[in-house]
Symmetry: D2
Subunit: 438 residues, 4 copies
């Protein structure tokens, strides 16, 4: 099969080992990903960001075909038992395509809103191993061990370590695709890194004594800009997109909505339009696979639509506003404002303002802390291989990586109803900030 992808151009799966992609694409569990947006509510901030987990999964599988091709160009550097034969390539491709199977509605949001429920990785593994799923059947048909091997690989475990890292690691196919894809669909160019050069710069490092497969490496200093630009793409995308105030505010609102629903269910209230999975997850932090797979963005939008008319005032208010994109406002704290003392004082002030305006601060005010470390040398599991055979850590050779390794990107914001915005700004702007220029 050949298709056009706006990110990668011509995408094709045609070799023997790639046949499985077409069959997997036709399964119910993968088609379900067409109904789950890649970036949750981000299209409320970036109107182009309506792309789905389905297109991302396809993209990740495509990047894996390119990774496999590159690795095979390096086969002569490997002992035969560590090469990518058809079986290993097939499981790598399947893992790349299927790694996101277990996502719930609105991707990460759903998970974050129900922290006691199984993670999306757990659901992915369940889907792969459950003999009733179509995905399982396709894999099992090819090889009865395949479902388990793909499940392992999705979790980052594989005898060939460089393959495990390509599925789940600092420079994995998942990130390679989503950075480019999110950049293309949001229009935020900063996410574009040089995938061609990155793949072309991949090498294999020096294997350990134990006969284990060698680690991934980067070809000399000439390959460094490829990984530098990858790391920067992550940094920029976190700053511009993933931590955007409108995304964070809508995400926080959804988590409030789901929490309220959970509270109401646990209190024995009856509620219209609640999917069975949600009742289960509220009551016992788990549900059946079938019930879980019946969840997707559309189902949850229909819930929001219905909950606008819920009898519970807090739920109906939050659901109405979110459905209509009447988002809560944010006040961002910078520099020394993020220190606990300043922050907690500010939070308490906003809670008071909300209370005075008739809002229950427990449901209508939030302190939102977003945090990510785009690159950590220690985790990267990648080395730089010099022409003379020497091996060095990326941050030893790159000024940029040395400076950014371990550095955290964070955004701290107070979230509150638009009705009290003027008062919040007025009250917080006058609190002194230690160390500000003016």
């Amino acid at each position: 099969m050949i298709l056009r992808d706006p990110v990668h151009g011509l995408v094709s799966f045609e070799s023997a080992e790639e046949q499985i992609i077409e069959e997997l694409l036709a399964t119910a569990e993968l088609q379900r990903l067409r109904r789950i947006r890649q970036l949750g509510f981000t299209s409320l901030a970036y109107p182009g960001a309506d792309h789905t987990r389905f297109s991302h999964s396809l993209g990740a599988a495509h990047v894996m075909t390119r990774f496999v091709r590159r690795l095979r160009d390096l086969h002569h550097e490997l002992p035969p038992d560590q090469r990518l034969d058809t079986q290993r390539a097939r499981e790598a491709l399947a893992a790349a395509l299927l790694h996101d199977l277990g996502h719930g509605p609105f991707s990460h949001l759903f998970e974050a809103a129900l922290p006691l429920a199984p993670s999306h990785e757990t659901w992915t593994v369940r889907i792969l191993l459950d003999s009733d799923t179509e995905v399982h059947k396709v894999l099992h048909e090819v090889d009865r061990e395949l479902p388990a091997r793909v499940a392992d690989l999705v979790c980052g475990n594989h005898p060939i370590d460089y393959l495990a890292r390509a599925v789940s690691g600092t420079f994995d196919v998942d990130r390679c695709d989503y950075l480019l894809r999110d950049a293309h669909f949001t229009g935020v160019g900063y996410g574009r890194f040089d995938l061609d050069w990155l793949l072309r710069s991949l090498r294999l490092g020096v294997a350990g004594d134990s006969g284990s497969a060698p680690p991934l490496a980067i070809d000399g200093p000439k390959g460094l800009p490829a990984i530098e630009s990858f790391v920067l793409a992550r940094l920029f995308m976190f700053q511009q997109v993933y931590f955007h105030k409108a995304s964070r505010s809508s995400e926080w609102m959804l988590s409030r909505v789901l929490n309220r629903v959970r509270t109401l269910i646990l209190d024995g209230n009856s509620l219209a339009a609640v999917p069975p999975a949600l009742v289960d997850l509220a009551k016992r932090a788990d549900t059946s696979l079938d019930a879980y797979l019946a969840l997707d963005d559309m189902v949850l939008w229909e819930c929001l639509r219905a909950w606008r008319h819920a009898s519970d005032a807090i739920l109906s208010e939050l659901a109405s506003r979110l459905f209509m994109r009447r988002l809560y406002k944010t006040y961002e704290l910078y520099g020394s404002q993020t220190a606990p003392a300043w922050r907690d004082n500010a939070h308490s002030i906003v809670r008071d303002l909300a209370h005075n305006a008739g809002f229950d601060p427990d449901w209508h005010v939030g302190l939102d802390i977003a945090e990510d470390v785009p690159f950590n040398d220690a985790d990267a599991a990648i080395v730089v291989l010099f022409p003379n055979g020497q091996v060095r850590a990326p941050s030893e050779v790159s000024v940029l990586l040395r400076r950014l390794s371990g550095e955290s990107v964070d955004r701290v914001r107070l979230i509150f109803p638009p009705e009290i915005r003027a008062k919040v700004v007025e009250s917080l702007d006058i609190i002194p900030v230690p160390g500000a220029l003016s």
Copy 2:
């Protein structure tokens, strides 16, 4: 407000006359367009094509701001009463933003499937004029005549003819945006034309005797490639995207589904999950504005999900397949195969094959004829203005436009269940085609 659009880059609405955009964007009727995909089922063929009418509407408004700016650069060529003052600019912007308000679920598909129901243009006008809609209120607040003027403009009527043509004409802001947008999201590069050059090449022609506004013109032969490439972009997008076999097949399937639902309703059957608007439209070819506005892609997807389990076998089968993207296959007719005799014979053969395989041909076989004329000199309402003041028709000056004017792009296909595909190909491939090379 400023935002990032993947198609146009930085988009901003900040001048006095642009303020209205932000207010209109916050209305329920415009937010609803977030739940209607621009290209219906096209993402089944092009996995990136999940963009919405909402982002297109924003894009069209942005193109209009550029059009207005260009026109104002030409103000010295116009008598004062034909210039774009704030009021006219505001109604042009509003019309650009609101021109698609009336679309139903899956955009054009819904309309095509219910041909007796009011058109989306009619619904747009109703929304604009109904004093209960939020859009109406925003417009009315600014100027009580504004709803009516915007409605007129959306229909292509305005005292300043060049403004009417910019909203609805051969080179209108709607097309300018959707060609670029559909190209960006499908990844089909052919849709990209040179918008900068097109806008820069706009001129005003020579006004008639009656004091009417002058027609739009293109600046000398140097502006021609801009409109040539625009016309070609349309041609290519029709061939590659809008008439793609998977789009057409899924569209045909949806129309079968809606027809079946209509038949069942008219026959008095009770059916789960049918939105009130659909019942109304089936029974009396019209519905209330509220009921209509409650329809969107998500509602219809939920219908499809429910109808998979309908007691009517034809409905459940079609809905199941469409929901799961198990699309009907197509056999395309080329050249002399499209002549009625060949075509009808082939259609009849496929109907027989379907019947023999247990499918009711009235519901499971289709003859699909897609047709469009990308450019017609006579309709274009644009002239080419030469440096020496001479005026000529585009097709007089351009080889390409002369050759393409009035030329129709068409695609004729038979549509049928995958189960009979091998037999269809086998049976039709052997029928002689007059004039084929081999």
Copy 3:
């Protein structure tokens, strides 16, 4: 070797058969192409168009590596004796890289200005076959027959016809590279066609009876847009770039300069700074290979610089103006103005105006006719291969190609000194044009 090309991205030559590229790149004859611009004087009109024949030659070789890779994917469709073995691939790559070796300064201009001299194709063959050139030595070292085989291939002759067509045909690697390259460096986006899709759509047609290799084919109707967009890219590039008025005017001025130099030499005048090759070419329409290879853009710019001070007034005037980009103006004829009667009358008027202003019309006035046929179905030597094995001519299946096949793009202009421009416009604008709208 790996390098970055702004047009194709990552370009690498690493397989055994590609080794020869690196050796050929290091030869004096290929390095000379760094000193010959791809588009002559076009950078006087498009300030980015300073790219060289060297970068184009590299690009053409790169496209050939991709063509070879595609052909090899189709090897199973070919009898073994018609496949691309290492030897054939190597000569194809060499021919792609070397096809432009024989260009003189300013590429086609030099040739056009000295029509009796050997063509650049003749010089290419001489360079390949002359045992003293470095290029010859590299080829001969690999295989003593290689120089002759590459020379044949450059001329479009090869036992494997599809290979000959890839070097010299309607859709050859030369055009594939230069359209994209000229588009990138001029900034005229219209030249961008979909090379990925074109290569992916290549097929082999049905071989004739005689055991000859099959013709190139395009994969079904789905491949058509790739060749349609290629043909349109040519059409647009001719209209926008190759026939641009400033390019044509400067080219015409150079031809006047070289003609004047030739006349002066033949009249026995002595002239500063004339390279020996130019004297030979003037006197006997040929020169030695060494002398020819000593010519490049820089040498000719130095000539122009020197000739600004020539004692011959006509030469010094033309050289000064061209060196300083004080270009002659043009008046373009459209539609019925290009008919001989109108045209010759206008030409005669401009000659008179020049004469009255003190310019010798034989040297300072020109009638410039540029003409090209972007596509001709009969020459294309490509067929469309349908899934069912049927074969059709491109223009039978494509509306666009049918409409454009054989269609000529032409530009007719009068060229004259800027001093008489106002008078020319005034005099010609009032001559009636049959059939104009106003």
Copy 4:
């Protein structure tokens, strides 16, 4: 005038204050920049990098028109005497266009090779102020003070400080253009930053007490990524392009050639083809403006061509190799290898190896140290302006800028003839490097 630029798209100069651009473009001094490549010998490494100072100058003027437009959107924030009136805008445009007038052949290389000669900035000022140049005449015609004011501005001096910074500062129009241009023509995507966003984010800070113009500022944290990506673009371009080994090696070779010529001239040797300016510069470290302006890349290429046959063996060898791109090889030192002890030892070893192979190490071996600081908070002269009126230093708000401020990018290499490459690698690879991983 309107033209197409591959970097900025449509470029036009049409307002009253922009008229001067067209006149300046026609001068001999600006046309000379067509014969000076922007990146010296970089096209030996990146075959697309043949773009000229002329196209860069145009691009810088274009960015200035956009800067002026942005500043005027902020006029309401400025007292009238600090606004950009027509006169100031005109001098800003002229300065942007003319800032590179004084460059010698191969841009910076020429200057670096003759360190005692006047800098290119000095030549720019001389050209502006000399009443015989065409540029001076055009400026003087408009306003007799204009040449002096433009000269001041080019040197970074102007009563309106933000204007001076836009011509010569951390984020000036020169850098804005060359980063994008060099990225486009080399194909190194890392140089692309978001110019639209940068311009849109520009603000004016808070003016000082003295009535001076306010400093440039960036609009809140939302504008930060624009300057972050600009700084990173510089970092990457230095690493990938400006400090590329082939660029540095060829630059070093040219400096050897020019040094040798200078030595020969000072020793009284007579040498073919030496332009008068070079003799002057060798003998007295200065020359006349006329002689200087007669120098360009073409003249120097002709020198190299002639010097291949010089009687001095060192000169002829270096000139031949450089003319033919037979570049000297490099051995790069990383990390602790760059410490003086390791470095000097290695240098001395390479000198010995060269000597043993018959090369004079003083002329054939070099230690090349390239160094640049892409960003320094202290020099940036830009602040971040928060919505609440607070002002902070960029590196206080941006993790990235904080980490990179003052950080130096450096490359240390030994340069030597290819003949001794194997021996150099063999000898240096075995010297222990303190701290390497293996």
